[in-house]
């Protein structure tokens, strides 16, 4: 580890902070789990977790809420990475809940399964009796998240109460909770999109190929580029055209847009991200555009 004058780089400092958070949770909670989707933020989070407990294995399982609307590349990557780490992977499926009749899908055109993730996530937490769940959310992503604590207390319904959060001081985290309640933990709270990419470059982290520029048939809808898939066919009046694109975020395939790009390496993505004038979610997530407080409303109900 290169050190000059007892100083750390920005990335080393936020990494040290995140490692500290992982260890606190592992030490103070009975049954933590780490939300791992195969997306870039969760990949970075998983690497930091790996560092926190090295040379031992992760002292908790991975949890994925599978919407059934995923990019194949991302699912393949998810399984590959879990196997590589020797980690236990628990998959809770939105499709299974729909098939079992416990969830009803909104089948109108343009509906995503984003909202349906919440009950599946809460059931998975209850079924596995998880008391702490790590998420890769960052405060720079969205304005409701900017106000969320590193330890985000959730009541027995999984709800977040933004007006009644515990003050969080120094690096002292209060994880007290009663049975049935749990804490969502966000070790990457202080990371930005650029930090994520710099870390991917620094650590030479493998990430799903769709984060880099590739050719894909897309349609333009509501100012976003949407990939043409069996789930997202062109609507009347729309024409599919091939474009060089990459994804800035990876979520439900039906509401995640791509951006035009030529970046094929982390370094090239960093250059693009540094120059962009639109936020990650503003550019690519239809789910956050529903209203000014779309994210806050979902989080109150127990969303990630």
């Amino acid at each position: 580890m290169p050190v000059r004058g007892y100083e750390l780089t920005h990335l080393q400092m936020i990494e040290a902070e995140a490692i500290h958070i992982f260890r606190e949770v592992a030490a103070e909670f009975e049954r933590p789990a780490l939300l791992f989707s195969g997306g870039k933020d969760s990949i970075v989070m998983l690497r930091v977790a790996e560092k926190a407990f090295w040379p031992a294995k992760l002292p908790f399982p991975l949890l994925h809420i599978d919407t059934g609307h995923n990019f194949d590349e991302v699912l393949a990557f998810r399984d590959h990475r879990a196997k590589e780490l020797g980690a236990r992977l628990i998959v809770a499926s939105v499709q299974a809940a729909i098939d079992a009749g416990t969830l009803t899908e909104d089948t109108r055109p343009g509906a995503s399964r984003n909202q349906l993730q919440t009950p599946v996530l809460l059931d998975a937490i209850a079924d596995n009796r998880f008391d702490a769940v790590f998420g890769g959310a960052r405060r720079d992503e969205e304005k409701a998240r900017a106000k969320e604590r590193v330890y985000s207390f959730r009541d027995e319904f999984g709800q977040w109460d933004p007006k009644n959060q515990r003050p969080e001081l120094w690096s002292l985290y209060n994880g007290r909770h009663r049975p049935g309640e749990h804490i969502r933990v966000f070790p990457l709270s202080n990371w930005t999109e650029l930090d994520i990419w710099r870390y991917i470059a620094q650590e030479r982290l493998e990430i799903p190929s769709i984060y880099y520029a590739h050719s894909r048939d897309v349609v333009e809808r509501d100012g976003m580029l949407l990939a043409v898939t069996p789930l997202t066919l062109p609507r009347p009046g729309e024409t599919a055209v091939p474009r060089r694109i990459r994804y800035r975020t990876v979520g439900d395939i039906t509401c995640t847009g791509a951006v035009e790009s030529t970046a094929r390496t982390p370094e090239e993505v960093i250059v693009e991200v540094a120059a962009t004038r639109i936020t990650e979610r503003g550019a690519t997530r239809a789910d956050d555009r529903v209203s000014e407080a779309a994210m806050e409303d979902r989080k109150r109900e127990g969303y990630f």
Binding site: Y6, R176, T279, A283
Partner: protein, 454 residues
């Protein structure tokens, strides 16, 4: 040059703080066009005659509807020199609690005054809280200089007035900068309107400020967080103590003492995922291996035999009380200190500080919401601590409600207290009678390893 600077700012709506933050974000290209468009849209919908940049950080529905800031908001911006984390706190509701929270991790406190009004009550409060939380650097932005014709005398008068007040506080480094957030004078670059000002622009000051020596690199303090035991085929006997260095520089081969047990040994090696570490210093997260097989667990603290923290159960501290229900003498509360959680009883409430006048009110016997005061605690088992002014990590505690789990307040340790004799009817935590191993300034215990290290 440290690459990360944490800034805490506080202020009310009309002193131009939001405008200043908006300008810093905008001029460092950290403000995005979709964010700006959303702010413009909401301002328009609310019928504001201007673009309210406070909306950038006021993300919650209630905040946007009522035009108020509820909570600490964190903003991120970067220049080629440095990355910044800005904790922005509201100037009104829950003011003290939020300011204390934001200041707890800050390297620098950013205070704004209106050049037309000068130092006001709120300025003094900010400065006091920054001092209480030992924020090492303070910047006083004298804003709205354009409204006083960039008058040097006005700036100098405010600067003097503030210095006079700050002299009563423990603030090491104060810098005053004349700015106009609205027109951008001295925010990102030096302004031609203030030829008499020979200091840096605000952003330049934030970029160049030397903060590396703010950390304590003298007193080795390593609170054990987690014991790493792979128990794998390759590493059947590996045992490492994971934690984040809270002070000093720790090296392989160093003689160390484990507290509170008082056992001594040596550092066999310092590990990280990225390879062996030659020197571990704050705020690195590492894993320490010891030469001897000692019983070390979470909550213990590793220090040097010739430089130990205080180990004790009777502690004086300044507290910031953060809930409606008042703190009373003899209350039993939970205490989290570094990686150790204990229970404690409030043995004394000495005074409350009036944060406007700095007057100490010794007639009180409770502390209420947003009060700052001095109390004494007796803990069920010993804490290994330093005065907060010596070390912000080993000198800070959280006060927690044992029943609901709520965080009640924050405490900054002053030092050991000499408990008043409690009458026999006073309830005492059971463990109080046990004299802790390695009590205050204990002599080092015999080493388990020969001093020669042969």
């Amino acid at each position: 040059m440290a690459e990360l600077l944490r800034v805490a700012t506080a202020g009310s709506v009309d002193d131009g703080k939001s405008t200043l933050i908006g300008r810093l974000l905008y001029d460092t290209k950290s403000l995005f066009t979709d964010q700006l468009a959303a702010v413009e849209r909401t301002s328009r919908e609310r019928g504001d005659g201007y673009v309210d940049l406070a909306l950038l950080t006021d993300g919650l529905r209630a905040e946007r509807e009522q035009g108020i800031t509820i909570d600490v908001a964190y903003r991120y911006f970067a220049t080629p020199r440095r990355s910044f984390i800005l904790a922005d706190t509201p100037g009104h509701v829950q003011y003290t609690r939020n300011m204390v929270t934001g200041a707890s991790t800050a390297d620098l406190a950013l205070l704004l005054v209106d050049a037309r009004k000068g130092v006001v009550e709120q300025t003094r409060r900010h400065a006091f809280l920054a001092s209480l939380l030992q924020v090492p650097h303070l910047v006083l932005c004298v804003n709205k200089m354009d409204l006083v014709d960039f008058d040097r005398e006005i700036f100098e008068k405010i600067k003097e007035e503030f210095r006079h007040f700050a002299a009563k506080l423990e603030i090491v480094d104060v810098t005053a900068i004349p700015v106009s957030a609205l027109s951008g004078d001295n925010v990102v670059s030096r302004s031609p309107s203030t030829p008499w000002y020979d200091g840096s622009s605000l952003l330049h000051h934030l970029e160049e400020l030397h903060i590396a020596s703010d950390r304590n690199l003298i007193d080795v303090r390593f609170p054990v967080q987690w014991v790493v035991r792979p128990r794998s085929e390759e590493l059947p006997d590996y045992r490492g103590y994971a934690g984040q260095v809270a002070g000093g520089v720790l090296k392989p081969g160093d003689d160390v003492i484990v507290l509170p047990s008082g056992l001594t040994t040596r550092v066999a090696g310092i590990d990280s995922f990225d390879g062996p570490v030659d020197e571990a210093f704050p705020p690195m997260s590492v894993t320490v291996r010891l030469e001897d097989d000692l019983d070390v667990s979470r909550g213990d603290l590793i220090a040097r035999p010739n430089n130990q923290p205080t180990v004790g159960q009777d502690i004086n501290l300044m507290v910031s009380w953060m809930v409606d229900a008042p703190l009373r003498r003899r209350a039993r509360i939970g205490v989290k200190h570094t990686t150790r959680s204990v229970r404690a009883m409030v043995t004394d409430i000495s005074y409350r500080v009036d944060i406007d006048t700095l007057h100490r009110d010794e007639t009180i016997d409770t502390l209420g919401l947003n009060d700052i005061g001095r109390i004494a605690l007796r803990t069920t088992s010993p804490l290994c601590y330093d005065p907060y002014r010596r070390n912000r990590t080993t000198g800070s505690v959280l006060l927690i409600d044992e029943v609901t789990g709520t965080t009640l307040g924050a405490g900054m340790i002053l030092g050991p207290s000499h408990p008043r004799t409690l009458s026999s009817s006073d309830p005492r935590p059971a463990a109080c009678r046990v004299r802790p191993a390695g009590a205050d300034r204990a002599e080092p215990r015999p080493a388990l390893t020969p001093a020669t290290g042969a």
